[in-house]
Each structure stands twice: as C-alpha cells, then as structure tokens.
C-alpha cells in the first residue's frame, strides 16, 4: 500500500468516523433553548404560534415594504434566538425639552427613533443637532412576554409604593400611559385600569411605554423595519430627504402588513413560554437565591406573580417567576441618559425581568450585554451600575463576602 493510499484512506475513514459520531443527534439541550411555545398550547394555538414564529423570522424585502429608513429587515436580527439584542443592532432614540418643560419626541425631525439604515437611493437618518436627550437601547429578550401581559393591573398596583410607606427606600410606581386608539380592543386581561384622564398601565419597553404586546409589535414593525400596519400606517422618513423622495417613500402602498399577520406576530409574542431554569439542585444556586432575597434584590425583581383571567385561556391563572415588578424605579444619575418616553422620568426605568438571564450570552454571541444599552458585559458590572432607589441594595451586595457574591451570581445565571 502506497503512502498516498494510506493517507487518503485514513482521512476518509476519519471523516466517516466523525460523521458517524456526530449524526446521532441534532437536538439542542432543552435547558439551553431560550424561546419555545407554551407547553400546553392546543394544536390550533400551536399553529397560530408557528405562523407568528415564521413572520418573526422572515426577512422582509424592499418590495414588501422595508424602509425607506429602517434599522433591520427582520425581527430576528434584533432578537437572535429570542434573546436580548447585540450592540450592532441597537435602537437609538432622541428627543429634546420644550419650553413648557415637556419632553418632545421631535416628530418633525423624524424622531423619536433613529433609523440609521436606508433603502438604496434614500438617505439614512442622523441624530439632529437639536436633540438634547439620546439613548441607546438594547433590544429585550422575548420569552414569557405574554405571561407578563396577563398579569392584572391590580397586582401591579399592589406592589407599588409611591410614597415609600414601608420606608425601605424603594418607591416603585406604575407607569400610566396614554395609549393610541388602535390599542383599544387589544387587551387580553380583565378589569383594565383607567385613570380619570383615560390613561392605562404601561408594561412594555424599557420605559414601560407600551400598554400591550399588540402596540409593541406594531411599533417595532414600523420603527425598526419600516413596515407599516393598519395600526401604525405611516412609514418612517428622513426629514432631510428631498421632498420628492419623502413623498415616494419606499414606493409600497400602506399598510404593508395585513392585520391578520400583525395578529399572528402578536400571538407569537404572547405564546412564548417562560425561559427554562437550570441547576435547581445546585447548593450554590439555592443559597444564592436566599441571598438574593435577603439583601433586598427581590423588592424590585419580584419573584412571583399569578396571572389573572385572560381572554386567552392558555395564559390564565398561571404562577410565574419573572423577577420583575413591572414598575418604574429611579435608577440614579448613572443610568440617566436624558431621554424619556411615556410616563417615565429620564432616570426611571421599568424593572427588567431577570428570567432568561443565564441564557442571555448564548443569544448575544458569547458575550453578555446587560442593562438597557448593553453597557455592562458582566453581571457584576450590571449590579454596580444600579443607583438611585437600588443604591442601598447594591451596598448590601458589595458588603457580601466574595463567596456569597458568587453564589448570588450563580443564582442569576440559573434563571
């Protein structure tokens, strides 16, 4: 047998061996899958979820209505594997202060969202010089959003402590937003709260600006992709573009996405399961959870809710552990970007759910990008950035011995 024969036979046999070993299974570890449908969906519900999933992963083309200015051409590219976003596709919003003290979205200058990409021949936007507040937002993770939407308004109000009656320094408050008309009829829970001036509870978005997932989906489609719907029926534009181009837009008649598909996309968001927990039997994780509660993290990152009666029975009366209280909190000057929307002040942020935190890196390319703008790349950095109402809790964390801090981090990574 010649050397060439031996070498070539060896290479091919090694290939066959590798192939044989690898071909056994392609199934991912269920504990590593961040996004999946609710386990108890019936076949019809599952079909609707799957249809929405397909739309979520669909890449839209210019002929289908992308643009004329946009950030991405598919929902997926801001939420890889259903997870948190990556800085390359961050959302940028801007605004400025009116003489009357109101914060303006600068609609006439194509605000509040910057669409920094554009279809061919159309100029991409730039932040206007007049903008006083600019914020970068890292897209959120998607699992369990429908469960958060099914929490009752009453339960959210019950946790609020605007006047700090318990004197613990934590004063979470409910975001009350003025919803657009199209939101009416799109709520999935009963006993919707209305203030005297018609405002309702804001739940979604970093500043709790959106009242429900239907609004969130419609806004994301038009602001991120430039895809119009009957709800948000005007394409984004660049105010500096020539008038003829502005009038032509993307050349596709509005609305660009049928109502049925907007509903399917919304249902996909509503029917995603809570992320899987891992390492539940690990003593460090168990001890870390106790520490998490003892030092007060749980005061904002509320560990348990029970969803209310929903018009979607699959979301009704379920006990969930999202680690958020859905309230706005003052997070201090370090996290104040001078920008706001809805009811929130510039230094206020809605408590983000912590579930899925341990799988965040696996949807962000191996590096975690935490906090609203992805500025922290480790959980410890994220904790250290907490200020305002969380200052004393951060102090409690910093006073822990290193071993206990590690246990708390282990717990967070198990979520």
């Amino acid at each position: 047998m010649s050397v060439i024969t031996k070498v070539s036979t060896l290479i091919i046999l090694v290939s066959i061996t590798i192939f044989s070993c690898q071909m056994m299974d392609t199934t991912p570890d269920p504990e590593s899958v961040l996004i999946s449908p609710l386990a108890h969906l019936n076949p019809d519900q599952l079909a609707k979820h799957t249809a929405g999933d397909a739309l979520f992963n669909k890449s839209y083309t210019v002929e289908e209505g992308v643009g004329p200015v946009f950030v991405a051409t598919t929902c997926r590219s801001c939420h890889f594997n259903g997870g948190k976003g990556h800085p390359f596709n961050e959302i940028v919003r801007f605004g400025n202060w009116e003489p009357d003290g109101e914060f303006s979205e600068m609609l006439e200058m194509s605000g509040p969202q910057l669409q920094y990409r554009a279809i061919d021949g159309y100029p991409a936007e730039e932040i206007p010089e007049e903008a006083e507040g600019v914020v970068k937002l890292n897209p959120p993770a998607l699992p369990g959003l429908g469960l958060l939407e099914a929490i009752t308004d009453a339960d959210i109000f019950a946790w609020a402590d605007v006047n700090d009656i318990d004197q613990d320094g934590i004063t979470g408050r409910v975001a009350l937003v003025d919803p657009p008309a199209y939101v009416e009829g799109q709520f999935i829970y009963e006993n919707i709260y209305r203030s005297d001036d018609g405002r309702c509870v804001g739940r979604f978005g970093k500043k709790a600006f959106s009242a429900n997932l239907f609004q969130q989906a419609a806004r994301a489609l038009v602001e991120d992709l430039g895809i119009t719907t009957s709800a948000e029926n005007h394409d984004p534009f660049n105010w500096k573009a020539p008038q003829a181009l502005r009038e032509y837009g993307d050349g596709v008649p509005n609305p660009e996405l049928p109502d049925e598909q907007l509903q399917e996309l919304t249902y996909f968001l509503r029917s995603t399961a809570a992320p899987p927990r891992r390492d539940l039997d690990n003593p460090d994780v168990i001890e870390g959870e106790n520490i998490f509660k003892e030092i007060g993290c749980v005061k904002c990152h509320r560990d348990e809710f029970t969803t209310g009666n929903s018009i979607l029975p699959e979301l009704s009366n379920l006990t969930i552990h999202p680690y958020t209280d859905m309230l706005l909190h003052d997070m201090g000057p370090g996290l104040d970007d001078g920008y706001t929307e809805g009811d929130a002040a510039t230094n206020e942020w809605r408590t983000p759910p912590l579930w899925g935190l341990g799988l965040a890196e696996e949807s962000q390319g191996g590096t975690g990008y935490y906090l609203h703008d992805g500025r922290a790349t480790t959980l410890n950095e994220a904790i250290q950035a907490h200020g305002g109402e969380a200052e004393s809790i951060k102090g409690n964390y910093n006073s822990l011995v290193k071993e206990d801090q590690d246990k708390l981090i282990s717990f967070l990574r198990s979520l």
């Binding site: 024969t5 066959i16 199934t27 269920p30 890889f80 061919d120 390319g365 590096t367």
Partner: protein, 411 residues
C-alpha cells in the same frame, strides 16, 4: 420544538430503490453496445463535456437527471423521508459545417417548478487554440460551476460555496473567447476563457435572508433589459495536464447596481468575485478543491447588516476502492469509490464596529459518500452529511444532519 414526520407510503422507499437499480441496470446494459459507447465519448472543451447520442451525421441529443431518497433533520426536527428528483435536463447539439456549433441545454427544476435554460449558444471554433461563442451560457466561475451535472460528481448536493458564495450554476447572456494553448504533447497546457456578460443585479442585496446573496442577483429571464447598461467581465485561466492536474483562477467583476430611468441615477457599485480551483489526480486518489472570495461595494447604510466580503472553500477527496481489470472494461466499467468533502463558508467576513467582535454567519459541513459507477455516465450514490451553522453573532450552532441515497445519470 415541534416534531412532525410527514406520512408517506411505507412502500415508497422500496419502490424507489427498485426503480433506481432497474434504471441503472438498464443504462448499464444499453451502454454495453460498443458502437453507442464510441458515439458517447465526451468532447474536450468543458462546456461540451457531456455524454450525447449521435443522430445522423452532425446532430447530438442527450439528457441527464438525478434523484434521491433523503432525510434531513435540523435541531431535532425532521419532515421524514422524501423522494426528490431536483432536476431533469435535455441537451441538443448541432454541428453546422466544420466550424460552427449550436448547443442548447435546458433543465426542469422541480424545486422552483420551472424550466430554465442553462445554455443556448453558437460556437465558432477553427482549432482548439481559439474559439468564439455568443449566447446564453454557463460561465467559468470556478471549475465546479461548469461541471455541476451530478453524474460527474460524488455527492448529490453541491459544495456550499457554489450556491452560497457563488451564484452557481451561473449562466448568463455573454460573448466570449476560449481556447487551449500548447499541444497535447506539452507538459502543461494553458486553458483560457474570457467573457463579457450581462452580469448580476442589485437583488443580491434585497434578499429574504437579510444578507448579501449572489445567487439572487441572477436574471430570471433569458432575454431582458439590462439593469445598468454596464457589462460584467468574467474569465478563467488554468494550467492543465491531462489526468494529472488542473489549477485554475477565475473571476467575475463589474457593476451590479441598478440605474433607474425614472429618478436620479443611483451610484454605480461593483462586485468582484474570485475563485481559485485545484484538481489533482494521484493514482486512485482524486482531490478537488475550490476557494472563493466575494467583495461587494455596499450602500453606506448597509454596513454590518449585509456582507461586503464573503469567503468559502471546499476540499473533496475521492478514492477508488475497486475497478474492473482493464481487459473487462470493454464490456463493463464497474467501479466503487469512497469520498469525503469538507465545506466552510463565511457569509459575512468582518468585525462589528461597536464591539470589535468577529461577525460569524458561518457554515461548516462534513460529508462522506460511497459511489458505485456501473459506467462513467452513471452513478449510484450514498451520502451522509452533518452541518453546523453559526448565526451572525456566533451563537451556539444550529446542526443539520442529512442522509441521501440516489442516482445521477445521463440518459
């Protein structure tokens, strides 16, 4: 995760297997006819390297097909076994006098459910050293692009670069020259081919995958309006010694962006695609490899979202385990080979501006094959492959496993 298997007749695989062997057996029997065998000898030039039946004194016809029984599984989800016959092609060639040849090759693609023309050309050649051709024809962008008929190959699927990085199989309206310099007794011959072609269009950017796709820039229609009134240029040169080696370099370059008549002229943007290919014959071992690089000028705001550089490569090793002794080849040419192929494709070469992390969007694939050839023109192929796909951010790979059993043959 949804796991579903498409229900199919339990007898379908059996029927398919019987059909394959009957088909191959019939072909093998038919080709025992010595006269016919002589008439089906392949011709030298790559484009005309097909097996055809001679009709009359100067006309040839033929056809080819491939099909398979296959099962693919991605992330634990499979739609079960499928029988596919992706393409059936027909070829007609007519020699007009000593110098002119008319050649037409069409293919029904069952995946797209449409008939497509691969070649429709007139060729003028007075000697192997120089020829001229005009029409709509397959272009030499890499070696595999012109030899993609599966009967020539050891795998039922294409190398990843040929469809993901390159627009293969790529045919286009073109005018060109070609030839082989150096006689058959020379140590090394030089093959050359240069074409002026219609070119790809800006649909390479506006794609359902949200990434640059050369494949989608091909024009669907045989005769169509040019998108920008500018040609692309294509060519390949190769050093060649028969049955020893062939080393070639090819390219496609030119403007792809549209110029629309009803508005301001868009900026002209170019693309450059280069391919380096190698084939070595070391006794019973054959090595085939290609590497391709695309460079695309993007509109400014498309940075990062779409790729301005793409790269891919594959290496294919095949080794002949068994071949009938020479004295029997007059009657039968049974051979059995094993093969392995490695594919790597980076559909987005570069780094994220904000994080300096490497942009991923990469495919890795390992394939193995067992190939039985009753004759040179026919093959029964068993393939297995395993693929890893890393998304733009390089998150944990999405894995796909496939197994295919099928045939590929001229008829």
């Amino acid at each position: 995760m949804i796991k579903s298997d498409i229900k199919y007749s339990k007898n379908l695989p059996l029927i398919f297997l019987v059909a394959v062997f009957l088909c191959v057996s019939l072909l093998a029997t038919a080709q025992k006819n010595e006269d016919l065998q002589n008439e089906m000898k392949p011709q030298k030039e790559v484009l005309f390297d097909r097996y055809l039946y001679k009709i009359g004194s100067s006309n040839y016809i033929g056809g080819y097909a491939h099909g398979s029984l296959n099962r693919f599984e991605t992330e634990g989800i499979s739609d079960g076994f499928n029988v596919t016959v992706p393409s059936i092609g027909a070829i007609v060639q007519s020699n007009i006098g000593q110098l002119l040849r008319f050649y037409a090759e069409g293919e029904y693609n069952s995946i797209d459910k449409k008939f497509q023309v691969n070649n429709l050309l007139i060729d003028f050649s007075n000697s192997p050293k120089f020829g001229i051709r005009i029409g709509y024809y397959n272009l030499p962008l890499g070696f595999y692009n012109q030899k993609s008929i599966k009967a020539h190959y050891n795998f039922l699927d294409d190398p990843l670069i040929s469809t993901l990085v390159l627009p293969g199989p790529y045919s286009d309206a073109a005018f060109g020259i070609y030839g082989i310099l150096g006689g058959e007794k020379s140590i090394v011959q030089l093959k050359y081919q240069f074409n002026v072609v219609e070119g790809l269009n800006e649909q390479i950017l506006y794609t359902p995958s949200s990434n640059t796709e050369m494949q989608l820039g091909k024009n669907d229609d045989l005769f169509f309006d040019d998108n920008n009134n500018l040609p692309m240029y294509n060519g390949r040169i190769a050093f060649y010694q028969k049955d020893v080696f062939e080393i070639g370099a090819s390219m496609l370059a030119g403007a792809y962006s549209n110029i629309s008549s009803d508005s301001e002229p868009d900026t002209i943007r170019n693309l450059y695609s280069g391919v380096f290919d190698v084939q070595l014959y070391l006794g019973k071992l054959k090595i085939q490899s290609e590497s391709a690089l695309n460079i695309i000028h993007l509109p400014g705001s498309m940075d990062e979202l779409y790729a301005d550089k793409q790269y891919g490569t594959f290496v294919d090793l095949s080794y002949e385990l068994f071949n009938l002794p020479h004295q029997y080849k007059r009657y039968l040419q049974h051979s059995l080979s094993i093969a392995a192929r490695y594919d790597f494709v980076d559909l987005h070469v570069g780094y994220f501006d904000k994080t300096y992390e490497q942009i991923s969007n990469e495919y890795y694939k390992a394939s193995v094959g067992l190939v039985y050839r009753p004759r040179e023109q026919s093959a029964v192929i068993l393939n297995g492959n395993y693929q890893w796909f890393y998304d733009l951010l390089g998150n944990p790979a999405k894995k796909t496993m496939g197994i295919e059993f099928g045939f590929a043959s001229y008829f």
